[in-house]
């Protein structure tokens, strides 16, 4: 017992100060991408031809738009622009309520608004989620597991992952939705009692990620499963997901502080 107490003391308290104070990220951390249109040269489309991801989708009007949902947060994505118009910030907040909220000319994201009052009353202080991995690399799942460790400790906000869709208020979907998981995803979704939330975590669940275009995947969550929260990342940092969830529940006011009560 004494030995245990000694080790326990040595290990100390490690819980992150999130969301109370700003969290420091290392200098090289690649958060939300930005684009500075001022740096673009007329008629230059080098970035599009060299882009190894779907970060710059084709727009009918020909304008350059940044799709944060398709971003793989890879250094090769900034290197695709010879004029340094594309860069990564250290901003970890980028979860949105709508798919369109992740697309803009400059990489701005329409940060997730809170659910309506009725849904907040239901889920606001106790949210039970079921994870469905469907054609992923398991990177996103690893970060979801990390949300439960002593550092991120999502349970302190009343959010927990449960063992069955029957116990859940919503699904967290990761992966590009492989053909072999399609049926299981639909069935798990249908087994979740309504009202239910669906949260798409990671570039794969949003648009197929690095596997986009493969015959074996469906390029993300199927259109007939309505998504309530889109969390970009490859994989999303645990705090990106935590920030999105707390915004969804109306637990973050003025962008950083937790709402009381």
């Amino acid at each position: 017992m004494l030995r245990f107490l000694r080790v326990r003391l040595q290990q100390g308290v490690r819980t992150s100060s999130f969301p109370g104070t700003d969290v420091e990220f290392p200098e090289r951390f690649r958060g939300r991408p930005t684009r500075d249109p001022g740096r673009c040269q007329d008629g230059c489309s080098t970035c599009r031809s060299r882009m190894p991801s779907g970060l710059l989708p084709d727009a009918p009007s020909g304008e350059v738009r940044v799709d944060v949902g398709a971003c793989l947060f890879a250094p090769d994505e900034t290197a695709a622009c010879p004029h340094q118009a594309i860069a990564f910030t250290r901003d970890y907040r980028m979860a949105a309520r709508t798919r369109e909220g992740l697309v803009s000319a400059t990489g701005e994201v329409e940060l997730a608004r809170a659910l309506d009052a009725k849904a907040r009353r239901l889920f606001g202080r106790s949210l039970r989620l079921r994870s469905v991995a469907a054609g992923s690399c398991s990177g996103c799942e690893a970060e979801l597991v990390a949300l439960g460790n002593v550092v991120f400790d999502l349970a302190r906000f009343g959010i927990q992952f449960v063992a069955s869709p029957r116990h859940a208020d919503g699904l967290v979907v990761t992966g590009a939705v492989s053909l072999n998981m399609r049926d299981a995803l639909y069935r798990t979704w249908q087994a979740t009692p309504e009202p239910r939330l669906v949260i798409a975590v990671g570039a794969c669940a949003i648009n197929g990620g690095p596997f986009r275009g493969s015959e074996e995947v469906g390029n993300g969550v199927p259109a007939d499963i309505p998504v309530d929260l889109w969390v970009p990342g490859c994989p999303p940092h645990p705090l990106t997901t935590a920030d999105g969830l707390l915004r969804l529940l109306g637990r973050l006011e003025d962008g950083s502080r937790p709402a009381t009560g």
Partner: protein, 503 residues
Amino acid sequence: MTAFDQLGLRNRRAIRLASVPVQPVEDFRETVAGALQKGWRVASFFGMPDEHGTTRLMAILARDERGELGATSARVGDRYPALTPLSPELAYFEREVAEQCGVIPEGHPELKPVRRHPPDHAATPAVAAGFDRDRFPFFQIAGQEVHEVAVGPVHAGIIEPGHFRLQAHGESVLHLEIMLGYQHRGVERLLERHDRERAVLVAESIAGDTVIGHGGVFCSAIEALARSRKTPRAQAIRGIALEIERLANHIGDMGAIAGDVAYQPGAAFFGRMRGDCLNLLMTVSGNRYGRGLIRPGGTTFDLPPDMLAAMTDQLERLREEIRPAAELLLGNASVQARLEGVGVLSREHCHTLGVVGPPARACEMPRDVRHDHPYGVFRFAHIPVATAWAGDVLARTLVRWLEIQRSLDFVIEQLASLPRGATRVACGPLHPGEIVVAMGEGWRGEIVHTVITDDAGGIRRCKVVDPSFHNWNAVAAALPGNQISDFPLCNKSFNLSYAGHDL
């Protein structure tokens, strides 16, 4: 024709594809079976479409004690006599060939799909039609008190999808069959089809917890085919990243094993220290799993002196903190009682299933690519191979603990003596008509990427073998005789990748 073992094929050294013997299928069977009897083992075995609608079967063999690789091949039509009856090591590989190419290995004792997808490397549509991907009869045991338990693909925890079918008598498991493929994303075809920049991003996503492992091996294959020589500094940084990845995952596994036997302090302490290792990778590469660090020609990021010093400090603190936590866990009698004698993998199974990585080393089989087929920084700085003998959950935990200590020492030592120089050199076009076998020791064990180029220098075939491909069969072999309720613990002690297996 040169003999299969005289080709000059070694880890990460490209040779001309034309020099790989093409044998009549009967001779091919004898060559492979004979080699396996003489102490060679199968590193990779696959098929690819070849001239006149044939499929070329390629066998890549490894002789660990000499660090040698061998290769031989045969052209077949829509069927051929299976090698499995001669060499049971090939059973799972031949199932994969049948599924990927549609070619039927006649006489295979258990021909079923591996991932349940339509053939994606078939020579012709007619050959592709030969394999039935939906025929997956589960092994069943009949009897009055025998019952069946089905688990998955959606599990209770935050786990990847897979289906487990247990035949049990009361609590006691009689047989376990594992059906995978739910994570199949068509990785090999993407690696073959995409340009280099996109292919590397796919390689980093073969298994999300093995970004450095798979990314490093794929880039090394590209470098070998392009004759690009990494600088010693780039090699050292890659080695450091690989060992930090090993630390993160092994430490995470110690915590998960503690959690599975309900020893919560272990789960909490190790879970946090795993995160510290991931954060080290984030300091270096900007991503907690090391994405973006390794690219053909070297590494994208350097380690400046202040970062070196900060990393060394953190690792030394980790070394101080982890020992008491590990001693607390492993010295606890109730933890020992839950780990000892559970999920024993026999040496016979370990050998015939070609098990790799920590599960093999926990059966006293000193198999480690860093030692047997040394590459990069591991040619100069040797990490002793950690082994245990009992083959149970405790032995697999002990091997991890030993490897944690050795990797910590290695990284701290490397940070103190990093060679000078650039971190990235040019990596030009690939040489046409060549084959390279790139192997690396990921934290789960041996990773093998075999890349074959076409006449124009494009990638004609990229065959990926994740350690989980071998080791899932070991989970099925280790479980009979255990209690159903110990299944999660046994499974965790192997901690295999579904994504890496399913590709």
